[in-house]
Symmetry: C3
Subunit: 215 residues, 3 copies
């Protein structure tokens, strides 16, 4: 297999720079992966986090990764087993809801970018000691929202976050305006009702609006 | 000593299934243990968390455990020393406000069920890596309440919680309605003023109402 | 160099007992250190946390430490490197936004008091296992404020906190009234605008009011 040019130099910063919102996607039926992925990529959202919460997830990562231009990562990676399944499915990056040093070290050994979740200063310091300074901030709204991120910016001026969890099209700009927010994670682009209805057109509309958010 | 039939198979899930609310009880005078325990057990609250916050706690666990049908555990176990004292007093389960891998491993070695407190995704992932998927969520109200538990249900769909801290008779139903809440911990059933007044009747009334909560 | 008498017995409890508010100070120009420190010490705020967030921080610690009566510590210590720089600059105590066992152990080995930040029960239990029971509570307002500290007082009755982050002259009394708050950290005494304007008189006024807060 020929590696795509961007595969060699993929970093968390590069991933975060591509678009203002990373869609967080749950796929229940693997056959939805292509049309759903095509709707997102076509609307400008190439970087997609597909969560390992369903039986179909691994096959969906595999299928969605076949779409020209798509960069599909695995989310909700909770264990080394999940990590192995995600890597075998071709995940280009790894997202975890919390910080696990085991999974961080696994990702480093495999050379795959990882975005682990944190929500306290202690968790950030643990991440720093592992050599990381890019994190998911989860669950963003419930863990204190923009006010918490502002407070964390004081001591952690060089750390950048991807707030995820409860963020909406309406609240995303409040996060994206912060100096320590690089990108947000968004579940609102692919709500279950629209995916179940296979309404790719409506999803493409939501994706276009998300892709156009300022930061 | 003949082990009671349920002693052999006591698991956290079994404990959580017995009643909708686990009373969290502070005993200042060990002679209160029997009448207080009898009021709770008589009202249908057999599983009781007695906190290691007073000089009388160990003796109170010992005495309350003698009540027919009572399953008395130790709460606020903060150190291996607390753990040893609790085990010697006959604690049938262990509750800790936060997650300590030392205490979790001690409980596993002793074969006693443990319910450690967590309140972030990282803490849950640490617990998962220790083989646990049942946790106290503490302090429930202050750490984000039902909204936080809903957010944590996303990535941690198989994890069940016992929210404790600030929960009341009025707010308990909001927690018990959540798919990831198995039981709640309640301090409202044995308020200090009623225990000091030895008003076992009023405590039995509060316990009956708690025992009747739907989940 | 002759050690001052109080240098030998400096403990976190001793530091916390000196004044109700520890000013948290950012210095951008090392030449501001003396007049700024003099304004604080003259107003009764001898214990000063100077944060390692600027190029000038180490030199500012060195200079401010020369003021008669000043006890200058380093805040925002994020790594062993920061710790070494702070110690070489003469920091008399160490403050970290989160809990790092590496830095705690370094401080113990060096015999310097450390006040690490925590905001969850698990983080407190980790601190207890490291032999600590005095913590910064950070970020105080965003991590739940006085209500969270009240909840943590339940299981952790012997632990004392220094709430820092978002605390103001107006809200400081709510924290200082709590049984588990020994002192608060305050950034409001040295706001950037006043430091940039070299308005030491106004800073001295704010410091006097802070020094007079009841606890």
């Amino acid at each position: 297999m020929t590696r795509k040019p961007d595969a060699a130099k993929l970093t968390v910063d590069a991933l975060m720079a591509i678009q203002p919102v990373i869609p967080v996607v749950t796929v229940d039926r693997s056959e939805d992966a292509e049309p759903l992925g095509a709707a997102l990529v076509g609307a400008g959202l190439r970087v997609i986090e597909l969560v390992m919460r369903t039986e179909a997830a691994a096959e969906a990562i595999r299928r969605m990764s076949g779409i020209e231009g798509a960069i599909v990562g695995a989310g909700t990676v909770l264990s080394p087993t999940d990590f192995d399944v995600a890597m075998k499915a071709g995940a280009r990056f790894i997202v975890t809801p919390g910080l696990s040093s085991f999974i961080v070290e696994g990702a480093r050994a495999a050379g795959v970018p990882i975005l682990p979740g944190v929500c306290t200063a202690t968790e950030i310091m643990t991440g720093l000691s592992l050599g990381l300074d890019r994190f998911k901030f989860f669950p963003a709204e419930q863990a204190g929202g923009p006010a918490m991120l502002k407070a964390l910016h004081g001591p952690f001026g060089h750390v950048k976050f991807c707030p995820t969890g409860g963020v909406t099209e309406r609240t995303a700009p409040d996060y994206l305006a912060l100096p320590n927010v690089a990108v947000v994670g968004g579940g609102w682009i692919t709500p279950k009702a629209l995916v179940d209805a296979k309404d790719w057109e409506k999803i493409a509309d939501l994706a276009k609006t998300a892709a156009g958010l300022k930061r």
